[in-house]
Symmetry: C2
Subunit: 144 residues, 2 copies
DNA sequence: ATAATAATGGATATTTTTGTCTTTTTTTTA
DNA sequence: TAAAAAAAAGACAAAAATATCCATTATTAT
């Protein structure tokens, strides 16, 4: 459904958000080990998220990654997925046709658009904070 | 959503099915040009479909690909997707966790399972014949 | 200032997916 | 039986995704 990069990105954001809620910055190492992802690859993904102001990074000792409260209060799954995987999952034709639309639909167009719009709606309505809450309550897990 | 191979596979099946309804066998060339796919790559995908009795092939002049009526009457999108892409799209964790389930769900588990089960239901209930009908009525297209 | 810490950036490597090319096998028709 | 047509099979190539390594830059504490 999502690329590996996107999966790591989502998990990393949930973990960093959880720590940010408690005013803790986290290092790359902590992120990677907490979400069980390859460190250097995760670094690239975090860079990407930082360059697009979804995550904040500070260098030096005491540095690390965080998500500032004003950003966290608005952050949704859709922001992360859109940044990393683009909008193909919302817009792209189910059969990969370049020009598939209401007027000239592919055979699966109408079946897919229902699923797709529900996926879109779900990603846009799910906040990272709501996912952090579940983590915090011990109801969900980021590893294994 | 699906791999390129799977997209080609679905389009190829719809095209071959359309021709089989009219008792016409089609060559690899015809398939590839009709669905706008790379010929040799499409060949591999058709081989795979043939080995798994979703498509039939006959060698020699007058040979070509077809889908026998008894198969076509049962064939659904899910059969093709499952063969080519496997069951990750139904079963796999949205965050790529190996062991994510009802008891130990990842943070997005419950949000995703709704979408996933709808996707599953859609693929399992959509027959290739119903898609051929739309093609035939000029309501949908396989290229562009 | 210096050393230590942590992210950044760039180059490189590996793996997977996608795509190609060539030879072989099967079948039909002449 | 020989030639032609068509898929099968296997090796190979290119592109994309995933992953690693190393030198650089910024920040903090000593």
């Amino acid at each position: 459904m999502f690329s590996k990069a996107c999966e790591y990105g989502i998990k990393a954001c949930i973990f960093i958000a959880e720590q940010s809620v408690n005013n803790r910055r986290v290092s790359l190492k902590e992120v990677a080990s907490s979400i069980d992802s390859p460190e250097a690859y995760t670094s690239k993904i975090l860079q990407h998220l930082c360059q697009n102001n979804i995550v904040r990074s500070d260098k030096g000792p005491l540095g690390g990654f965080s998500i500032p409260a004003p950003i966290l209060s608005h952050l949704r799954l859709s922001n992360i997925v859109y940044l990393i995987d683009g909008d193909d999952i919302y817009k792209g034709c189910g059969l990969g046709l370049k020009r598939c639309n209401e007027k000239l639909p592919c055979p699966v167009h109408n079946k897919f658009k229902v699923i797709r719009s529900e996926l879109k709606e779900m990603l846009e309505s799910t906040t990272i904070l709501s996912l952090v809450d579940k983590l915090h309550n011990g109801l969900t897990f980021l590893k294994r």
